[in-house]
Symmetry: C2
Subunit: 190 residues, 2 copies
């Protein structure tokens, strides 16, 4: 088993990614000095691990996507149907507030990177496929454009993120609210 990285370098990277996520979530214009000192490493070390500011942001963003992918990996095998898969998406992604916030805030910075573009495209394609499958199975109303449903899910993640920022509500409860709203809305039917 070949370890390409020295244990010290690995520690530095981990600390820098964590500090970067935190500081950049607080303020997307946080300086590399801020991030390095918050990580407890020298600024020079940051530059040794990440050539530029953008490379650091990119590394963190890719880590966020990995975490999301990992959280949703089990869905495909377990979901009983398309709607259940969407329910599980809310359940598994809603708790990842830091990752969601990071990707949302720094989208503008990272979206031009080809690797990020590729990941985004893959995710979007998966969502489109899932929604169209749900439509075909009669679980989702065909009257809505697929693109709207996909964007709606994004919007519900956002609403859930805001909700979690505001109060002492827990992710499970919020995910439930989001999914219920997704299915039946909030008006009284008559």
């Amino acid at each position: 088993m070949i370890n390409r990285l020295d244990a010290r370098a690995k520690r530095s990277q981990k600390a820098l990614m964590k500090a970067g996520m935190e500081k950049l979530n607080e303020n997307p214009e946080a300086t590399l000095s801020d991030i390095a000192s918050h990580a407890g490493v020298g600024r020079a070390t940051l530059y040794r691990q990440y050539e530029t500011r953008e490379k650091l942001i990119l590394a963190i963003a890719i880590d966020c996507f990995d975490i999301i992918d990992e959280a949703t990996a089990s869905i495909e095998g377990k979901a009983r149907n398309a709607l259940d898969a969407i329910r599980m998406m809310f359940e598994h992604i809603t708790p990842l507030t830091r990752e969601f916030q990071f990707l949302m805030n720094l989208e503008r910075v990272i979206k031009n990177d080809p690797q990020i573009a590729s990941i985004n495209k893959k995710h979007r394609t998966q969502m489109i496929d899932l929604v169209e499958y749900a439509k075909k199975k009669g679980e989702v109303d065909k009257a809505y454009p697929t693109s709207w449903i996909v964007n709606l899910i994004e919007g519900l993640f956002y609403a859930g993120w805001v909700q979690l920022q505001q109060e002492g509500s827990n992710p499970e409860e919020v995910a439930g609210l989001a999914f219920k709203t997704f299915c039946q809305g909030v008006a009284i039917q008559r």
Copy 2:
């Protein structure tokens, strides 16, 4: 009728606010040089009209709120019920993509200002009142927390904004999708 501002100053301010909105929407870190030259005025003039970068951003943000307030002013008189008022909110605010984007992107910068805080608080209170009125009238499901409904509306604005960025869909259509989703969700009822 007293005009406190010279016509030239008024022109400069108008051009700077417009250019600021555009440039800062493209890139929240746009420089004051960028904004001034895009507005067709000298950088010194920008500083004459707005003491600091933050003052400019603040002025634009307040203008955005004014535009939103203006767009929604007619609702109270016209709406037939609470749900209809919410429908009209989607209808009137969804087209204001530039204002929505600006307030969303620069929230972090402006939220510490007392004037902005006051406006935000007022808007939130109005939304809470509207939702609780809708609940009382049996138009909205009391099982949902009011805070969730308020955040949901914000999330649907966001989804609508994304939808309008992506395709050739028009605001009226998107507002309709958002409101229908708000009421009944997107799943097939059984």
